[in-house]
Amino acid sequence: MKLLEYQAKQQFAKAGITIPAGRLARTAEEAEAAARELGRVAVKAQVPVGGRGKAGGIAVVDTPEQARAEAGRILAMDIKGYPVRSVWCETGLDVAHELYCGVTLDRDRRRMVLMLSGAGGMDIEQVAETRPEMIAKLWPDPFRGPQAYEIRQLAFTALRAVPALADRTGRLASALVPLVQTLYRLAVSLDAVTCEINPLVITASGDLVAADGKLEVDENAEYRHRDLAAELAVDALGDDGASGDDPFEVEAKRRGLTYVHLDGDVGCIGNGAGLVMNTLDLVKAAGGEPANFLDIGGGARADVVRNALDMVLSDPKVRGVFINIFGGITRGDEVARGIIQARDELGITKPLVVRMTGTREEEGRELLREAGIVPGVSAVDAARQIVELTRQGE
């Protein structure tokens, strides 16, 4: 669950981190009104991807009329596939310096990592690659959280690398202690896998202000944040009721399926993430292009299989479907029943290739044979078969 910039900022503000004054606008008129109230503002596209500035999704305007014109332009944009549904109109800051401050999952250390850098701003990822010494890191004890002395240490390490800040390093380090602790607590309380402020602006008057933010909540923990999820879902909806995400993936989520939309024309369904990934690899190795990743999970019943087939075939590009099943908890006969049901009820005429092995494989294969679907045993052969079938008539 990725929050939009303004949603992240609202969370920061609620936690006690200073953000610039701003208003959300869904229309050019609302942006005009916001500019009338706030004065000179930046009009910023609200999309869940980076690089919107470079794409022209941010404009700094002096008058309400300009705000109206720019908001109109930005609201008509599509940034990396995400239609812009709202803009955040925000007062500018008198920037003295930009820092980076973030909390994210470090899977190698099996902990959250706190990162602080004196080189904040748009190019932080490049900094991380070319000058990693510019980013100071701390892996807090998950029960204690980061202690004041640890954050001071982190701050001094990060700030000493920036000569321009030499005259105020001590003051900044002290000011960063409560801010970093707040940010870390916010990350933990929201089950965030990423919670970052970039840039964290040091204003001319010496204040620390979160000028932009990124917040992503762990999907596994969404059950603890239903209120937030509901709030965000409402906000993410435009007039047509669709969010910015891939429409197929949105539909799959609604259906409760683990689905990733890809560019090809061979539909792929399997049980287990690793197996499905391998299925895509096999299709590609056989010369085909997978249309999707769909994991029906463990122990799927017939109705889940039917639902999965319906989902995959809703993509008009799909020319045939490869179903790869290795039954552990999943039973072959259940899957076979689902496939047959789907074919008959949905009137599927496109080719289906089923590879079935594992628990109740014989029963499953028998059902398929009776229904006129030839089950395969080897995944490699089945992949070749579906690619051949979907290439026919090209």
Partner: protein, 294 residues
């Protein structure tokens, strides 16, 4: 010989009365696993599937001498169950629960690191020592005893490899499904270290996937001198960056975690790579010699 579990392992099932807990306990019993106790808070004193149920893991350990905890509880309770097993000093905890919040696992992992307990999982199929004991839900009929060790991140691919090996006549010592979550217990390097010390294991099959750098860490361990042949398989070669492929850990972010980087690291370290499961089986055959009699 084997690693982690064998016929003497005494298993306590946390969550034994649940629908999944009951089903898989019966499957384990059918395989020959010595299930000695169950734990369900508030159900202490009951008997379920022929074994006594206790309120706490510590009660179960004291009463039955359980030395392995099988954790099959819903996600909100999984981390707590892991910590309870660690607090009772159970030597091995196996958690199959899928969907455990990552912050919960970070805390549980910190507790595990400070304890004497080894953790397998979460979000894994568990492990199996062929013909002796299984903890988890690797299908009962696929494995057969032999001399190949298996360690895998993906559940279904664990079954694929075991079945492929068995059908070709190459039995297994122990197969360990370590799971696909970003924060977990035993990793490839831990299990490779265990197989190193197991005399019965003559070769190791390692099944990795995109995301993270655990395969690269395993490559470093192999490069430093590993006494047994390692045949590796990596799934997700064609996965696009930035798309999470089902497993919470299976995502390519930036340039790290791609299948190619893992294949390159493992190849350079001296492991051999199978492009398909069939290849893996053939490569194992070339290294362990003729199949053992069926």
């Amino acid at each position: 010989m084997s690693i982690l579990i064998d016929r003497s392992t005494r298993v306590v099932v946390q969550g034994i009365t649940g629908r999944e807990g009951s089903f898989h306990t019966e499957q384990m019993q059918a395989y020959g696993t010595n299930v000695v106790a169950g734990v369900v808070p508030g159900r202490g004193g009951a008997t379920h599937l022929g074994v006594p149920v206790f309120d706490t893991v510590s009660d179960a350990v004291v009463a039955t001498g359980a030395d392995c905890a099988f954790i099959i509880v819903p996600p909100p309770f999984a981390a707590d169950a892991i910590m309870e097993a660690a607090a009772a000093s159970v030597p091995l905890a196996v958690c199959v629960t899928e969907g455990v919040p990552v912050h919960d696992m970070i805390r549980a992992r910190a507790v595990i690191d400070a304890s004497s307990t080894r953790l397998v999982g979460p979000n894994c199929p568990g492990l199996l020592t062929a013909g002796e004991c299984k903890v988890g839900f690797i299908p009962n009929h696929v494995a057969r005893p032999g001399k190949v060790g298996v360690v895998a991140r993906s559940g279904t691919l664990t079954y694929e490899v075991i079945q492929g090996l068995s059908q070709a006549g190459h039995g297994q010592t122990t197969a360990v499904g370590i799971g696909g979550d970003p924060v977990l217990g035993l990793t490839f390097t831990d299990v490779l270290d265990l197989f190193r010390e197991d005399d019965a294991t003559r070769a190791v099959v390692m099944v990795g996937e995109i995301g993270g750098s655990d395969e690269e860490a395993a490559a470093e361990l192999i490069a430093a001198g590993y006494p047994k042949p390692v045949v590796a398989f990596i799934s997700g070669r064609t996965a696009p960056p930035g798309k999470r492929m089902g497993h919470a850990g299976a995502i390519i972010s930036g340039n790290t975690g791609t299948a190619q980087s893992k294949i390159d690291a493992l190849t350079a370290a001296g492991a051999v790579i199978g492009d398909t499961i069939e290849d893996v089986v053939r490569l194992v055959g070339e290294r362990v010699g003729a199949p053992s009699g069926r």
